[in-house]
Symmetry: C2
């Protein structure tokens, strides 16, 4: 048991050190020597857990996706309209990109993955499936228009969010990512909202900037 | 003169070979030996023009951006409404991704750039500037609503298009990229179009699928 705990702690330290190094230098510039230095682990300890730089990179991507998915599940479990959940998830992911080095490293590596191996598909597929369910739900809650194709909207939302945070990373190192996410909703919402929403611009603007509705959650039919 | 022509031809062959290798293997998997094999050039000839793999990668990115920009300028020069030009440019870029190996390689390298050096900002900045001008123009042509912030829309459109083609690349190797671009417009247009456009769904659907308007171009005020 003590050995297991120690192995877990070593693995955790390796992942944190790797995240810091990948975040700063990218996949190409990162070395296992630097990871061993930053994490305070011997190379032997590092190699015991991870056979190669690619191994370590894929583990960081996995941890990042787990952190993002946990926040997603927390939001899913709340008693809120589905559209609010969609907006909160995008905001939550944006905040993680600002606050969490492991998330920043994981996303950087997800984009860079094609430079060192097969592309990382799983996170996109997971988010598209969640967003499609929430979009269907939101249509039945009369917040998203019935004419919106939930699958097409979910695919577009995930792709578009990906582009927004990626381009914000390239142009401003994500300093403006939260503002760009709000602008995304300012442009998207008028085209997808159910007719009722158009009547209340205050509700709309509050929803965009905080993710929170002013009115109590409607009950699904 | 003959020497200059030969140097140009060698450089062109190197770039074509590099594009093929980068497109297939990504930055990490590409080697200068493979480029010399594919392009039929000696390593000496290759190194005469390009000092390193990074050098060659940045040259491929530059050529790709030049090809995309040339298509953009061709569309800009046409006598068409600005909104049509915006839609045609996105379609044109999508078709280049399907048809042109150099464009596919350049875009792959643009995304992978952070894995081997500083991110590539120029193309994003160029496209945002062009799209902002066209959006302003389209507002004055009464095709895009006056309330749309041209700068915010241009930034969002470029980021969102980037995400759409990137995720299409990851999930389907871009087999569905043209359909995903049409879906982008189906979701975006209802929220940004000037009131007049809502009256004619056929015009809208033709615009989305072909980029071409049914009505003659309006004259700017």
């Amino acid at each position: 048991m003590v050995l297991q705990d120690r192995a877990k702690a070593t693995r955790g330290a390796a992942l944190l050190g790797a995240a810091a190094v990948f975040e700063e230098h990218g996949y190409g510039g990162a070395t296992l020597s630097r990871v061993s230095e930053v994490s305070g682990l011997t190379k032997g300890a590092l190699y015991f857990h991870f056979q190669s730089k690619e191994d370590l990179a894929r583990a960081v991507i996995e941890v990042q996706h787990r952190i993002a998915a946990a926040e997603g599940e927390r939001i899913l479990a709340e008693n809120l309209p589905a559209l609010t959940k969609i907006i909160l998830m995008c905001r939550g992911f944006g905040l993680q990109l600002v606050d969490e080095p492991v998330v920043r490293a994981g996303i950087r590596l997800t984009f860079e993955a094609t430079a060192f191996g097969p592309p990382v598909r799983g996170p996109y597929e997971d988010w598209i499936a969640i967003m499609e369910q929430l979009t269907e739900r939101s249509k039945s809650e009369l917040q998203i228009r019935a004419s919106i194709d939930a699958g097409a909207f979910a695919r577009y939302l995930v792709a578009s969010f990906t582009g927004v945070q990626m381009v914000s990373g390239v142009l401003t190192s994500r300093a403006d990512v939260m503002q760009r996410i709000e602008e995304m909703w300012e442009i998207l919402l008028p085209g997808i909202l159910h007719e009722d929403f158009h009547e209340n611009p205050r509700t709309l603007s509050r929803l965009i900037s905080t993710g929170l509705p002013e009115r109590p959650a409607p009950t699904a039919p």
